[in-house]
C-alpha cells in the first residue's frame, strides 16, 4: 500500500492512483449533454419570439407592398373584404381603444378597492377565502364571459339604461364592461402584492403619529406601492387590448367607418383577426395578409406595454427585498 499523499481524499481510489486531483474523475459528457439539452429548452423561447416576428413580418411586407403604411395607419375606412377594399386601420383601433378604456374604467376602481381591502383590512381568514374566489374569476374561460356578456349583460344594459340609443344585439361598450370583469383579478392581485410588500415599518410609523387606518392605506401604503399598481394597470390594459373572444361575441362585426360610439356594434383588432380567420381565406390574398398586418400592430402595441410594466414591476421588487 503506497502512503496517502496529501492530495488524496478517498483512500480507496487513492490505492490505484495516488495523485488523483480533486475534480471529477473523468470528463462528464453526460452532464454536459444534459446542460446543453436544458439550455436548448430555454432557448426555445427565443426561437418562438423569432418565429412570431418572422411569421408576422413576411406577409406584413407583402401587404405593405400593395397598401402604403400611411394609408393603413391614418385611413378611416376599414373594409378589406369588399369589392372596393379599404385598408384604413383606425376604425378597428378605435374599437380596441373603446374596449380597453371601458374595461379599465370597470376594473381599476373595483380592482384597487379590492386590493386595499385584501391587503390592509381583511382578516386573515376572510382573505384566505376571498383571494381564491377572485382567482376563480380569473380562471373562467373567455368564451363563457363572452356568452354571458352577449346573452345577459347586453340585454341587461338595455333594461337599465333604456333612454340610450342601443342598436342591434351587439355593443362594443358592453364588450368593454365584460372584459373589465375579466381583468379585475389581474389588477387586484398584482396591486395587492405590491401593497403587501410595503414594509410594515412605514405603516407603524404612520400609526405612531396618530394616523387612522384609512390615512395609512391611502397616503402611505398606496403611494409606496404606486409603481406596482401602475404596472398592474398597464398589464391589465395590455390584456384588454389582446382579448379576443369576448370582443368577438359581444362587440359584433362592426361598421367600416370610424365611430366612437360604445353603444354600437364595432370591431376590435383581435376580433377582426378572429373573424377573418374563421372564414376560408386563401393564402397569398390581400385579405390573408391583413391578418398579419393587424397582428403586427397588435404585437408591437402589447410588447411596448408589457416591457413598460415589467420594468415597473422589477423596480418595485428591487426596493424592499
Amino acid at each position: 500500500m503506497p502512503a496517502l499523499s496529501s492530495g488524496n481524499v478517498a483512500s480507496g481510489a487513492g490505492a490505484e492512483n495516488p495523485h488523483r486531483p480533486l475534480g471529477a474523475a473523468r470528463p462528464r459528457y453526460g452532464e454536459k449533454a444534459i446542460k446543453a439539452l436544458l439550455a436548448l429548452c430555454a432557448a426555445l423561447s427565443v426561437a418562438v419570439t423569432t418565429a412570431i416576428v418572422i411569421s408576422l413580418l413576411q406577409p406584413t411586407f407583402s401587404f405593405f407592398g400593395e397598401v402604403s403604411i400611411s394609408d393603413f395607419l391614418t385611413g378611416t375606412q376599414w373594409a378589406p373584404g369588399q369589392a372596393r377594399a379599404q385598408f384604413g386601420v383606425l376604425p378597428i383601433v378605435a374599437g380596441t381603444l373603446i374596449v380597453t378604456v371601458t374595461a379599465l374604467l370597470v376594473a381599476v376602481p373595483v380592482g384597487l378597492l379590492s386590493a386595499i381591502y385584501l391587503s390592509e383590512y381583511a382578516p386573515r381568514r376572510v382573505r384566505q377565502i376571498l383571494k381564491p374566489a377572485l382567482e376563480v374569476l380569473a380562471g373562467i374561460p373567455t368564451v363563457a364571459i363572452g356568452l354571458f356578456g352577449f346573452a345577459f349583460l347586453r340585454p341587461l344594459a338595455e333594461d337599465v339604461l333604456p333612454f340610450l340609443e342601443w342598436q342591434g344585439p351587439f355593443s362594443i361598450g358592453v364588450a368593454g364592461v365584460a372584459v373589465g370583469l375579466l381583468i379585475i383579478p389581474l389588477v387586484a392581485s398584482i396591486s395587492e402584492d405590491a401593497m403587501r410588500s410595503v414594509p410594515s415599518g412605514l405603516r407603524e410609523g404612520a400609526y405612531a403619529l396618530g394616523s387612522t387606518k384609512m390615512r395609512v392605506s391611502v397616503r402611505v401604503v398606496f403611494p409606496a406601492a404606486i409603481s406596482g399598481i401602475v404596472a398592474a394597470i398597464v398589464l391589465a390594459a395590455s390584456r384588454a387590448v389582446g382579448e379576443t373572444m369576448v370582443v368577438l361575441m359581444v362587440g359584433g362585426a362592426g361598421n367600416p367607418e370610424l365611430v366612437w360610439n360604445p353603444l354600437e356594434s364595432a370591431q376590435a383588432m383581435t376580433a377582426y383577426i378572429g373573424r377573418t380567420a374563421t372564414g376560408d381565406i386563401a393564402t397569398g390574398t390581400i385579405v390573408y395578409d391583413t391578418i398579419f398586418a393587424v397582428g403586427s400592430l397588435l404585437f408591437v402595441m402589447t410588447l411596448a406595454m408589457n416591457m413598460f410594466a415589467i420594468r415597473l414591476v422589477r423596480r418595485f421588487r428591487e426596493v424592499y427585498e
Binding site: 429548452c41 373595483v110 368564451v143 403619529l209 387590448v241 374563421t278
Partner: protein, 315 residues
C-alpha cells in the same frame, strides 16, 4: 439622514412613502382632533363595495350559466356529436374528445420543455451573461403576448409554413404549448428557487454530480410547485379559444377526431360556434357547454389550490 439618502436602497418609491407618511402626520396636526370618523367608515364601505362588485360579478356569471344551461344538462351532451339542424339532439362529444387530444399533446410537450428551461435558468445559467438575460426577458414578454398572436404564429408556421401540419389537432396542441410555456417556466422557476441551497450543498458534498443533485433532490422538493404551475397552464389551455380559431378548430366535426389527421374541434370553440347561431336552443346548449367546462375547470383549479396548500413548505 444624509447617509441614508446616499444608500441605493432609498429609491423613488421609498421617498414617496416617506412623503406620504409626512403628509399623513401633517394633516393630523392641522385638523387637531379626531375628526374624520365618518370618513373612515365611508372609506371602509367603499372598499367593501369594491370587493363586493368583483364577487357579485363572479356569482352572477356562475348563476346565470347554471340557470340558463342547467335544464339542458344531460348525458346527451357527452354522447352526441354536433347537430346543426336539431339543437335538441346536439352535444359536445367530438369537441370533448378533441379537447382531450389537444390538452394531452400540450401536457406531453409543455411539461418537459418548460421544466427543462426552468432548471437551466435556475441551476445552470449565469445570469450576468447577456444571452441568459435575453432569454429571461423573452419569457416574461412572451407571457404577455396576446393569445391571438400565437394563433397567427400557428397559422403561418405550424399549419402552413415550415411545419405544414395542416388543420389537425397536433397543430392546435403545438400552438397552445407555445402559449402556455411561459406560465410553466415561470411557475417552475419559482418552485425551484424556493428549494433552499443547503439541500443542494449537502448533495454535492456527498459527491453527487450537479444533475444527480437536481434530479434526486431539487426536483422532488420543487415538484408540488411545478405541478401547481402545470395545472394552471392546463386550465388556461382548456379555456383558450382564440388561437384555435386560427389553427382550424372552428370546423364542424361530426366524427371522432384524430391527432395527426382530419378536422377537430375543442369545447370552447364549439361553445362559440353554438352561441353564434340564431336559434335560442343553441344558446341554451352553449350555456350548458359552459357549465360542463366550468365544472372541469373548477375541479382542476381547486386541485391546484389544494396541492399548493397541502405541500406548501417553509424551510
Amino acid at each position: 439622514m444624509s447617509t441614508e439618502e446616499k444608500t441605493p436602497r432609498v429609491s423613488e418609491r421609498t421617498r414617496l412613502a416617506v412623503a406620504g407618511a409626512r403628509a399623513a402626520s401633517e394633516s393630523i396636526f392641522r385638523e387637531g382632533g379626531r375628526g374624520g370618523r365618518t370618513g373612515n367608515a365611508l372609506f371602509f364601505a367603499l372598499l367593501l363595495l369594491g370587493i363586493g362588485i368583483a364577487l357579485i360579478g363572479l356569482v352572477t356569471i356562475l348563476t346565470w350559466s347554471a340557470v340558463e344551461g342547467g335544464p339542458r344538462l344531460s348525458w346527451d351532451l357527452f354522447t352526441e356529436g354536433p347537430n346543426t339542424i336539431l339543437p335538441a339532439m346536439a352535444g359536445f362529444k367530438t369537441s370533448i374528445l378533441g379537447t382531450l387530444y389537444v390538452i394531452g399533446g400540450v401536457i406531453m410537450l409543455a411539461v418537459p420543455i418548460g421544466v427543462g428551461a426552468a432548471i437551466y435558468l435556475e441551476e445552470y445559467a449565469d445570469n450576468t451573461r447577456w444571452y441568459n438575460r435575453l432569454i429571461e426577458l423573452n419569457i416574461q414578454n412572451l407571457a404577455g403576448v396576446p393569445s391571438i398572436v400565437f394563433g397567427i404564429l400557428g397559422l403561418a408556421f405550424i399549419v402552413r409554413g415550415p411545419l405544414s401540419l395542416g388543420f389537425v389537432a397536433a397543430a392546435g396542441s403545438l400552438t397552445l404549448t407555445l402559449l402556455v410555456l411561459p406560465t410553466v417556466i415561470l411557475a417552475s422557476r419559482e418552485a425551484i428557487r424556493a428549494v433552499p441551497s443547503s439541500i443542494r450543498a449537502g448533495s454535492l458534498a456527498l459527491g453527487a454530480t450537479q444533475w444527480q443533485t437536481i434530479w434526486r433532490n431539487v426536483l422532488p422538493s420543487a415538484l408540488p410547485g411545478i405541478l401547481t404551475g402545470v395545472i394552471l397552464a392546463v386550465s388556461r389551455a382548456l379555456g383558450e379559444a382564440a388561437p384555435l380559431l386560427l389553427v382550424g378548430a372552428a370546423t364542424f366535426v361530426p366524427y371522432d377526431p384524430e391527432f395527426w389527421d382530419g378536422g377537430y374541434s375543442v369545447l370552447p370553440v364549439q361553445i362559440f360556434n353554438y352561441a353564434g347561431r340564431p336559434q335560442d336552443e343553441f344558446r341554451v346548449l352553449a350555456a350548458a357547454g359552459v357549465i360542463v367546462m366550468l365544472i372541469v375547470l373548477l375541479a382542476v383549479n381547486s386541485f391546484a389550490i389544494w396541492l399548493r396548500n397541502r405541500y406548501e413548505r417553509k424551510w
